[in-house]
């Protein structure tokens, strides 16, 4: 029974992971990735890792929300109103992906895996707690410092006011092709998309 559920969840995780690169809408892509994480979390819950499993869902829901916001901010055509594929070196990537999966899969199948499941009565959450406060105390505090560095780095990089003046001074968007007009910008003058002439009435 557990095996059947695990198979289902693994298939779902792989399918939603695949959909990430196949849907047009960035929001659908992001939340498809979130579903992939959720099914991994569900496998964790099945395999007696309740804390790690549920916490994966919790963390990933939040992170994917943020990811979706940034996907929409920086992708052209974020909702996929025009279907599109924005890929390069496509064949090479497919080959690399398939080879990686096959190689890892073969390694899994040829290795004799040890069998030593979690003893049924362990309280895995408090185990983890004691581990954090005892033997792995340094890892725990190092993680704190790393996160602090991340927070400061993220603020420094992304906010406009820098120590050396405004971060966007003298910026100009690059073209889609080298030397072309700025990408995604309303073209100036004639020869553009004439958006403003397409309005229907009402104003």
């Amino acid at each position: 029974m557990i095996d059947a559920l695990v198979i289902l969840l693994v298939l779902f995780a792989a399918w939603t992971g695949w959909r990430v690169f196949r849907v047009d809408s960035m929001i659908r892509a992001t939340f498809s990735l979130m579903l992939s994480f959720i099914s991994v979390g569900a496998i964790g819950v099945l395999l007696s890792a309740p804390y790690i499993g549920v916490a994966t869902v919790f963390m990933m829901a939040v992170e994917m929300m943020v990811m979706g916001i940034f996907m929409v901010m920086f992708m052209m055509n974020p909702a996929g109103l025009n279907p599109m594929m924005m890929v390069h070196q496509h064949k090479l990537s497919i080959v690399a992906g398939v080879l990686a999966a096959l190689g890892l899969g073969a390694a899994v199948l040829t290795t004799t895996l040890p069998t030593d499941p979690v003893p049924g009565e362990t309280d895995v959450v408090s185990d983890l707690g004691h581990e954090l406060l005892g033997p792995s105390m340094l890892i725990f505090e190092t993680a704190g410092v790393t996160l602090l560095a991340t927070m400061i780095g993220a603020v420094v990089l992304s906010s406009r006011r820098g120590r050396y003046g405004q971060a966007d001074e003298g910026s100009r968007p690059p073209g889609l092709d080298p030397g072309g007009p700025p990408a995604g910008r309303q073209p100036e003058g004639e020869g553009g998309h004439h958006h403003h002439h397409h309005h229907h009435g009402g104003h």
Partner: protein
């Protein structure tokens, strides 16, 4: 048996993630590929910890570290994207080539 399924699933996720990370032109989509690979790693860690390592607490800690890596990667990655976009309004890996000029 269960462990084999889980590890094969992890291999598939890593493969799909690798494909995404290599093929996508856009930074943000590239990060999705990376996240998917980390997702595979997470799945493998959970499987191994639960079925092959007898529930040693370090395994759970490792899973948490993987998630922390994801958070750090996302936070710094998006901050970089904002910084680059502010400078050049570029959101694609290829467009970055013009940054050299």
């Amino acid at each position: 048996m269960t462990l084999t399924i889980v590890l094969l699933g992890a291999a598939a996720l890593i493969g799909i993630g690798l494909y995404g990370a290599l093929s996508q032109q856009s930074f943000v989509m590239l990060m999705m590929g990376l996240e998917l690979m980390l997702n595979g790693a997470l799945l493998a860690i959970i499987g191994l910890w639960s079925l092959a390592l007898g529930g040693m607490p370090e395994g759970q800690l490792l899973a948490i570290i993987v998630m922390a890596v994801m958070a750090v990667e996302m936070s710094i990655g998006f901050a970089l994207i904002v910084a680059v976009y502010r400078k050049r309004q570029a959101d694609m890996t290829e467009a970055l080539g013009t940054l050299k000029g």
